[in-house]
Subunit: 127 residues, 2 copies
DNA sequence: TTGCATTAGATGCGGATGCATGTAATGTAC
DNA sequence: GTACATTACATGCATCCGCATCTAATGCAA
């Protein structure tokens, strides 16, 4: 049935809007981070090694240009550092600074709290 | 469990990004509509009566200012008309023109096709 | 080597969004 | 009626995004 997809889509749309809005507000007010910024920090914190910009691009749902700018913002804020890549001098490594890791650690509970609130009663399965 | 929410959220994020991107491209290329524009047309087509801007605002996931501009764009394109509200002269009614209805009818299959492709194998239930 | 295609990332640009605010109409208290 | 709060919508502004493009480095072929 065609209409079932529409219902699902509307649900995705609603949850996305609600969560994004909350995340933006909560993370912004309490930690000075945007949702995209947190997302990048979160991915970086998830791995132990440095990541290529390209690898981040696969994990975050942003265009390459948008990611480039998010990382630039984070670097200006002192939360990450960009480093040249030895084996491919076109490449750029990104890794968390101590401040970056601390900020992520501080913001994590806020992030999770928002998710918990929005998805608490949402019986959505895996894909 | 806390991490379950994260998985669900990532899924919502992924589906939203994928669907939005496709919708923007398909609707844009084939019908000259953005995703927000189509969304508004779709809601208007769903009701038979005129809608207040405010009512639309509740259904579409846009800020009031963004909606105001989307409607302005649609009106400039000749797809909707804005009309004054008799009982409350602050209010604004919006309704589809014949062109608007035709454009919506033409774009609907494209929209549904995208949803079908993205959600084809997504066993997501109702909320 | 030289020459061309490809890739990684940065950036100019136009467009869309949200927040804060402005304007006009309505409601309310006195 | 007057004054103030509130509501509906529009708009100035800053920000963020994606697309197209640019630069530099790499790969590959002759």
């Amino acid at each position: 049935m065609d209409e079932a997809f529409v219902v699902v889509w509307h649900d995705v749309l609603a949850k996305h809007a609600r969560t994004m809005c909350m995340l933006e507000r909560e993370l912004g007010d309490k930690h000075g981070l945007g949702a995209s910024e947190f997302e990048v920090l979160d991915r970086l914190a998830g791995h132990e090694r440095k990541l290529r910009l390209q690898e981040l691009c696969d994990e975050v749902h942003l265009s390459q240009s948008a990611l480039s700018r998010v990382v630039a913002r984070l670097e200006k804020a002192g939360l990450v550092v960009r480093g040249a890549c030895d084996v491919d001098r076109r490449g750029v490594f990104v890794c968390l600074t101590d401040d970056g890791r601390a900020r992520h650690t501080a913001a994590l509970p806020t992030h999770r709290a928002v998710l918990a609130e929005v998805f608490a009663d949402a019986p959505v399965p895996v894909a």
